[in-house]
Symmetry: C2
Subunit: 318 residues, 2 copies
């Protein structure tokens, strides 16, 4: 590990892949440290151009603007020690196809994305992968400008098939925590990931299909009951996989519902913008695993079918 | 029955309650006979006023304009021999509250509505009730103007709790058939009603939630699979109730899907117009009966919950 440790004498290099809302918040915190070289890769030239010109502006739970190296041309980014992938799940493969070279000798690449299956895609491109899940929520306010309402946990742990040394997980957690984020390293982060997944599998499709903001859906008896039925299916699949949840998806629902304001879940924002959603990585992933294991998942399958149908409607099919 | 038969010497009187798209098509066919007094009650003064001024215009599978007595004031309508209720299911109670007097001495009042539960509401207001279900589809083109694409069956039979003489069912079928409609009297019309109900319980919520027209939803694998799963739940509930289906809901789906053009199901039209849907009388009715009987109905319950949530979203809830 000497060579690896040596690199830090000259400044750790971290590249954020997919510098959208959440990626921007993470990148800005790391860049603010001053002793880390932070690179941000995002396909939006408007966004990366704005960051280069005016810096990356963060508002909400923290307010600051910071300079960092943002580009839409991954070939401009040098080899980095760590990667943090924050794209929408359905862009993971394209993003890694473009950026894998950056991480050829890196200590690890960490997903902080929604849903299941991102680590598997990342592991097709790089040697060492870290599993991550977060309840942080952020939103882009405009090019070079991201907002977030509150600090919340980011759980990270080894992506088991990549046999990563757990000390790399702790190193990444340490630098992220030093930057002001709330990162919890775990020897087994599957429970945290599944807790967030099960939460997402309830609130996201219900919001997307009913167009209710989260608080309203949580307070309206029919949709609250559907939340509960979806949670129970997800919990049954986790149990069948031998995964012990880390945290309580019902507490996440209650916490979000009691927050002031009307907040639309990300899948509803996607639907309103006519963007493809992450439903394959959320309800589709739970339904696939449940059906394979013989665990009944009719509701996760049904909401997956409905959201796929909704996406299909945008093509005005015959 | 002498008094009853006597009435026909002076012209049978029939009142259509809810002269919307389907009600207009039926009313116009009856009025065209010339030897029937046809009354139409509808709450839309624009529609009834247009019919009084210019007659009721029908286009599509038949093209004609006919005079009939239309009003939004039920007190102007005399006692009638038969009633035909064609309102949306969620307006049945209000319509019968307003019009029950017309049917105090009538031979029967017949529902031709979607869903389950309309006959029960009608029977709270009048003595003799006929159960009905149809695959006719119609649409209002404007005030006084209704279109329909094809003639299709209307099945009618006794509403069992009202102990109606089956000859009244045959009388109503005879006059409707004489008017050019395709009416099939059945001693037990529950099978026909459930076939249509099960069809509606698949295509209507899927269209409303995905915004796909029927043909596209039938040809897209995820939504076609959901159609099938919803059908199977409805069939299981019908079996548990001892009802033998009359016709095949899958054939109805295939027939609609192979028709040219893009036709939105009525529940999607309701959603696009921001009108409350008939989901309580369709998926809600199947889910209620299934849960009471111990027949699993998770998907009918889930789509009911989602459509109720969608309706709730229109009130912009906190």
């Amino acid at each position: 590990m000497a060579a690896h440790a040596d690199r830090y004498i000259y400044g750790m290099k971290i590249c954020i892949v997919g510098c959208g809302a959440l990626g921007s918040v993470i990148a800005a915190h790391l860049a603010r440290l001053g002793d880390i070289e932070v690179y941000a890769y995002d396909t939006s030239e408007e966004h990366t151009g704005a960051i280069r010109e005016r810096g990356l502006q963060i508002s909400g739970a923290a307010e600051f603007t910071v300079k960092l190296r943002a580009t839409s041309r991954p070939e401009e980014i040098p080899a980095c020690d760590f990667g943090i992938v924050a794209t929408k799940s359905l862009h993971t493969r394209a993003a890694m196809d473009q950026s894998a070279r950056i991480f050829r000798d890196s200590a690890a690449v960490c997903s902080v994305q929604n849903g299941l299956g991102n680590e598997e895609i990342i592991a097709e491109h790089v040697r060492y992968v870290i599993r991550g899940a977060t309840t942080m929520a952020a939103h882009l306010r405009g090019p070079g400008n991201a907002g977030f309402e509150f600090y919340s946990n980011l759980w990270i742990g080894p992506f088991e098939p990549s046999n990563i040394d757990y000390r790399r997980v702790e190193e990444l957690a340490a630098v992220l925590n030093r930057s002001g984020l709330q990162v919890v390293p775990l020897p087994d982060a599957r429970g945290a990931q599944w807790t967030k997944l099960i939460f997402n599998a309830a609130v996201n499709p219900v919001g997307a299909l009913t167009r209710l903001h989260h608080g309203a859906a949580a307070r309206f008896l029919p949709t609250a009951s559907l939340y509960e039925s979806l949670l129970e299916e997800g919990e049954a699949v986790a149990r069948a996989l031998g995964i012990t949840l880390h945290g309580d998806p019902r507490a996440m629902i209650a916490e979000g519902a009691s927050a002031p304001g009307k907040r639309n879940v990300s899948m509803l924002l996607d639907v309103m913008a006519g963007r493809l959603t992450e439903v394959d990585f959320i309800n589709g992933a739970i339904a696939d695993r449940g059906e394979k294991l013989g665990v009944p998942v009719p509701l996760n399958r049904a909401v997956w079918q409905l959201v796929k149908g909704l996406e299909h409607s945008w093509s005005d099919p015959q």
